[in-house]
Amino acid sequence: MSNKKILILFISLSVIYLLEALFISSDASARSKFNLSATEVKLLSLTVTLPIIFIWMLGCYAYIKFRSYVDTIAKDKDGRVFRIISYGLLALFLWLPISSVFSNMATYLYRTNPSWTAPLVITNNYINLALVLVGFALIYKGAYKLINLKESRNISGWKYITLLPLVFISALFTFLTLNNPVRQFPSADVPTAAYYLPDWLLIITIIIPYVLVFYLGFFSILYIYMYRKNVRGIIYKNALDYFAKGLLCIVLSIIVIRYLAALTTLFDNSTLKIILLIIYLLILLLLCGFILLVKSVKKLKAIEKA
């Protein structure tokens, strides 16, 4: 896909997302619960929509720059490896706009046709998962090859250190998801269930793949850090440092998003201030991740242009 096509795709998704935020009517029960008018809801949603669109555009910019960097080093070993990582980044950068646009569209559709709710929620969950899984699988593949470019690969100690938080995060995610009272069926307070799947299918097709995503994400970061540690080049290392930190912020935000999905009922009892605070913090985390990636890609590209 050419840079122009990618840019058009991101702009189109951003316009659709903005139109959805402006023209899809908000949930009447939620409005009355928080005592907000329709205009207030629209203004509030814009405070979320606009920063999110900005993050998408940063992602688009980072990808285009990264691809141009990869093109300049395509013939070398590191170039071939970074190309695989660039495909993963594209899937990851597309995950946000595609899942957000589809999610808004699905919400609108099942609000007007309640019988479509379950299939739309299920489809939305799988689209989310598929893009994140493909993205991190490719980044992991690239990061694994990257560490194999260097001779010293003594990372077994670091693997155990990485596994500890990973096991904790995965166990907590599994526990929260399987203890979500509205995971399969909605309740009187929560009109939409989180997954509409029986537990065995939820474990096999949602929980295990997300644990795999966490694993791929954490180990991609570990491999990039280890490559950074072993490779020579003070200035080059600095650029890779930003890359790993940016990726870490994105992995953490995905973990937060999954936790929030598992805590649906908690949100139903929260005040608007708390909900907004969590959303803004999540946006901030994503923004940090994308800014760090842009910084890294700009540095890597500058080295090849110098």
Binding site: I73, K77, R232, G233, I234, I235, Y236, N238, K299, A306
Partner: protein, 87 residues
């Protein structure tokens, strides 16, 4: 001929400490762009001229002046020792 090749190799070796895997590509670009010659044919006199360009270029990649001056000192040292051996 062997000595000039070795100088090119040594310049890459020094640059690798700063630019990592991008070092060879960086040196090649600098030689072709500023000296208009094949990178393998680098002479000590060429390296001396090139160091001025490299200082300006690397200064754009990092704000750490110590790193830049350390790199340039190493290149200048290489240039002067190779010059003595070369002539």
């Amino acid at each position: 001929m062997e000595k000039t090749y070795s100088l090119y190799d040594q310049a890459i070796e020094i640059t690798t400490d700063y630019l990592g895997p991008a070092a060879k590509r960086f040196i090649d670009r600098q030689i072709v762009a500023h000296l208009d010659k094949k990178p393998e044919n680098l002479t000590p006199a060429d390296l001396s001229k090139l160091t001025i360009w490299m200082e300006a270029t690397v200064s754009l990649l990092t704000n750490d002046k110590d790193v830049v001056s350390e790199y340039i000192n190493k290149l200048e040292e290489l240039s002067s020792t190779s010059r003595q051996e070369y002539y």
